[in-house]
Amino acid sequence: MNATFTVARKEVRDTLRDRRAVLSSLAGALFGPALFAVFMNFTVERTIDEGEAAIEIPVVNAAGAPNLVAYLGQHLIEAKGAAFDSREELRASVRRGETEVGLVIDKQFGAALGEGKAARVWIVSDRANASAQTAVARVRGALRGYSSLVGMLRLQLRGVDPGVARPLAILNDDVSTPSGRSVLLLGAFTYFLLFACFLGGLHVAVDSTAGERERGSLEPLLTLPVSRGALVAGKFAATAFFMAVALIIGIAAFAVAVDYLPLAEVRMDADLGLVECAMAFAVLVPIAVLGAGLLNAVTAFTKSFKEAQSYSGIAMLLPTLPILLIILNPMQPTIPMMLVPSLSQHLLITSIVKAESIDPLYFAVSAASTVAIGALFGLLAVWRYRSEKLLV
């Protein structure tokens, strides 16, 4: 026990002395939340902007359709009259990419409307310009609205019930809660945290086995009166320590990021207060045990620093597979799923973010199974340390 503590303390100190190692271990924990914040901010702002902000579009012959222009104005589409004199000028501007979308009102617009015929309006846009498509859709939607409004008025004038022309009334009934809606976007949460956690332990695991061998410090270490089990346990503990620290940093960074994001404005809500953060940590910390076992086992079987790094890079991908699976094929949590590390944590974290209650049994099964598998990997590392092949 004493030797285990001595080894763990030495590995932690050794790693903390290496500024690059600390940076690569812990900056990984900030990378996920930072990427997440930037991406989310972008998405949220775009949703807000394009859904609600007023846009200005040039309208040729706006004077020919004052009612339509007024209707568009009510839907936050401001008509810029007099920007272009002809349809050709507008088309040229759109083609050059200077204008995203514009309207052309036919010269006979007023007359056609008056006679009860179809009046012509051109939406001038470039289908290849992807960023203009939201504006185009809004303009088209507003025009459709105006068209059906005028159509209903015409029917009413002729004494016909407008409902005759609308055989279907399509209504949306969205039962999702504000927190539930955020799950889709916060699905990345567990993924990034698992990644941060593994990255946190990577350096110390690689350095304390493969690095030890490469520096030639392993053989003298093995001549000390310490059992191989105690040796591995110390390295295991140091790895798990760094993984847990990376996890705390990752969760804290996410809490800060979520706090700053204008989620409410897109009718989402993710509560990551102190209680939720503590629960998330409790759910995820068994992963530190699993990861410490996995990384130490993998690095014990490799011969050099480089080899250890590439193999543990592959090993780090393993825990993300169940998450990808569940994102592609959503399922309700069951007890057998709680036996699968990373899948169980993802489901539990999702429940926390959705502000649902967690079944303590589920939590216990998830933690016990993950820790047990981590311990098995640890035993595998001990077995390897007992083998003479460790040195060769």
Binding site: K10, R17, E219, P220
Partner: protein
């Protein structure tokens, strides 16, 4: 004191040690000499309990290396062929780590570390990180690390390899000090002059077998050679012929 009999070790088809037996007494320096790949390191590794022999027995102060490796490790100080330090730790921290791993409480480990630093005269290195050490400095710190718990038996694998004259001389003084202290020193080398200067007992090992052993004088008499280098070559070639 080290006693070995009938040690044999195979790595696949290669016989690294074939019926190796010898005795290294306390208060004496025993040298293990042989060409590269003769089985010197394998023999020392078995004695350090890092690997196990396929057959045969070895005891350090009466304790069997295969049956009670942890007890043996408490009694030996080992300087394996590759003795890397932890580059991010200072010399003092490197040594103190080993002292604690030998089971000393922290304060005692600190005291033992100071003592060995003084004894080996590496005070100028003690608080520098090992990252920038020269090969000679690394070996001296690694030796201090191996001696911090004052082991009765000291096993050194080619300690003078790559050392300059001054460093070699410093190391020689340490070995002679240990002998004066009544310790058992077993070291390997492939430099004959060095062995001749230091050793009380000598074993010439070739192709996994002990070709000849005894005091330097006995070996000269037995081979009928004028100096140890000739004796070394004669012993090795006769061993090769007999195989």
């Amino acid at each position: 004191m080290i006693e070995a009999e009938g040690l044999t070790k195979r790595f696949g088809d290669v016989v690294a040690m074939d019926d190796v037996g010898f005795r290294a007494d306390d208060g004496r320096v025993t040298g293990l000499v042989g060409p590269n790949g003769a089985g010197k390191s394998t023999t020392l590794r078995v004695l350090c309990t890092v690997i196990k022999a396929d057959s045969g027995q070895a005891r350090v102060d009466g304790v069997d290396v295969a049956a009670r490796p942890l007890d043996v490790r408490r009694q030996i100080g080992a300087l394996p062929h590759l003795s890397g330090l932890y580059p991010n730790l200072s010399a003092r921290e490197n040594i103190a780590y080993y002292a604690e791993m030998q089971g000393m409480p922290r304060r005692e480990a600190g005291r033992a570390t100071r003592t060995v630093i003084d004894r080996l005269g590496i005070g100028d290195l003690s608080d520098r990180r090992a990252k920038g050490f020269s090969h000679g400095q690394r070996i001296r710190v690694a030796l201090a690390r191996a001696l911090v718990h004052r082991p009765q038996t000291v096993i050194l694998d080619e300690p003078t390899n790559g050392l300059d004259v001054v460093a070699t001389r410093a190391l020689r003084d340490v070995i002679l000090d240990l002998r004066r202290d009544g310790r058992c020193v077993l070291f390997s080398s492939h430099v004959m002059q060095e062995v001749a200067m230091l050793c009380d007992e000598l074993m010439i090992i070739s192709e996994g077998r002990v070709a000849i052993s005894g005091t330097p004088d006995e070996i000269l008499r037995e081979t009928g050679c004028g100096d140890l280098e000739d004796a070394f070559v004669a012993a090795i070639s006769s061993e090769r012929k007999s195989n």
